[in-house]
Symmetry: C2
């Protein structure tokens, strides 16, 4: 296993120490249990927005903590759900009296532990709402999931809900926009290579030199099919078809598009892929109103990419454009 | 060869088409010869700042074109110098009458072709100055280089010179700050894996499962030594020693630090490494005043990282903080 680490068991906590050292102006990191909060949290009277999940998907979620996005993130071990006490600690740390929105990716462990944390928070008098993100069209039911997996839409929901909180949306309204984002989002991913979880020490799956996995999950869960490697134009064609047939589009529909690298894909390839996606969107009459191109929800060093399309209305686009200042996303400030 | 491309010979031009489609608000892309300019170039009366080099190092250089940074970038083929006519076309496109600063990484082909372009520009009445960046302490003389290679300091010089231009620094003064940045910068890189140039179709070099290359070049040129893989703390120790012994520091010296991924390194590892670098800097009394952590000067999908330290004065820190709006670096706007 080739990794730039000290010991497999220390990866998450040492990376968190690095984040703390790197961004003291933006965030505070707590240990045992591990969570990250905005440096200025709690914000009195503002709906707090919390997310979390396994580590190994960086910059998600810790890289999205900061002004205009997450109030807190709970990083579990690599590809492992955060624990209820970890989530509870984060929720308590950022509640400003207006309640807490939990944005949860649809993996059985995450859903269960966020539910338990919500009950514990309720016992302590903190109002929470949870929205489960399930935008991955690749497969229904998967290795760690009942129903569809939650992937790229999580990033878009975190940005938009963070902005909603800044604008003063109450808990119910913030949860409402989160649900709307999820309902209007569809994603699909693919991989050329596996990744290696540090504690496992060997690749999560085997894939031969001329194969690719279409519809891969962010933990290397199997996708729709294992195919011979194809050209970028064909791959993007398959993925855009999968995404746009699941939520049909009409001419002139506007989207926030994320073309996301899985962690080991060079940027030159992501731009090449964006060129293909742009042509397909244009041919379908879809307007790419806003975009992210880069590594936002990754699977360690996996080579591959995913496409997320959010059919956006004026409110979502406005919230998207609001200022954001986090380690991984920054504009308007 | 596993890559998300169509044909090896089309990678650069197709990625440029993707950039054009992605960022029409920030930049314009021209083809045959290939170059990228700021959407609002030329800027009358402002010193233009141009850079370029082989592709495969994205976001460098095209991702740094925009307000407050580069006026133009000339991307060669993958790991191949841009041609003189390509550089000349870019220089002519962005000269606003105040002359052009060429920021050149120290590789024999780049230096020669930028020199030829400068002569051709001079024939057309355009004043240019060239500054050659040679910050890599790893080796003296290398596969494509006489003297030291130019690496991470290029990113810092481009940011600082772009800001100098915005402030109205004339050509001589902009070149002066560029030289000062180069003289105060030192870098070193390492790799766990090779990368594969699309046209070659096979890895640039072989490295076994338990080895690393310390002092690697950004094209996979040999470094100082091939060693058994060590812990992150030991690797960063070796690299920080190499960088800080080459340009000695005294307690309280301030630096702009770049901890740069080579393209295939997950962000969780970069943050872990930053934690180690931070501890070492602290123990040496070096103040990390500003930092970049991420993929800025890459080698396709290579796994590895580099450290760049710029001992910065007030002027450099001020120019660093000035607003920048490019595809890859953005703040203050």
């Amino acid at each position: 296993m080739k990794k730039l680490i000290n010991l497999p068991g220390l990866v998450v906590s040492e990376a968190l120490h690095g984040m703390q050292a790197a961004h003291p102006d933006l965030l505070k990191v707590f240990f045992d249990p591990n969570y990250i909060i905005r440096a200025d949290a709690p914000l009195k009277g503002k709906t707090a927005v919390v997310s979390g999940g396994g580590s190994g998907h960086e910059p998600m979620h810790g890289g999205f903590v900061g002004r205009g996005m997450l109030h807190a993130a709970c990083p579990g071990d690599v590809f492992t759900s955060p624990t209820p006490d970890q989530i509870l600690a984060a929720v308590k740390a950022v509640d400003g009296g207006a309640g807490v929105l939990n944005i949860v990716k649809n993996y059985s462990g995450d859903v269960m532990n966020f539910e338990m944390a919500a009950e514990l928070a309720s016992d302590e008098g903190i109002k929470t709402e949870s929205v489960v993100i399930n935008d991955d069209v690749a497969v229904k039911d998967s290795l760690y999931t009942q129903g569809r997996r939650g992937v790229g839409a999580t990033v878009l929901a975190e940005k938009i809900c963070g902005a909603a909180s800044e604008r003063g949306y109450d808990l119910k309204k913030t949860a409402g926009i989160c649900r709307a984002v999820n309902e209007s989002s569809r994603s699909m991913g693919m991989a050329l290579t596996s990744c290696t979880v540090p504690a496992a020490g060997k690749p999560t799956f085997q894939i031969s030199e001329n194969e690719m996995e279409i519809g891969i999950g962010i933990h290397g869960e199997p996708g729709r099919e294992r195919l011979p490697l194809k050209k970028a134009s064909e791959i993007t064609g398959m993925m855009m078809d999968a995404v746009t047939s699941d939520l049909p589009y009409k001419k002139g529909d506007r989207v926030i598009l994320m073309l996301n690298g899985m962690g080991g894909t060079p940027l030159i390839e992501l731009y090449l892929l964006y060129g293909e996606v742009y042509k397909i969107a244009k041919s379908k009459g879809i307007l790419i109103s806003r975009k992210l191109i880069g590594n936002y929800i990754t699977s360690l060093e996996m080579q591959g990419f995913s496409i997320t399309l959010l059919k956006a209305d004026d409110e979502m686009l406005g919230l998207w454009d609001d200022p954001v200042l986090t380690p991984a996303l920054r504009w308007g400030i």
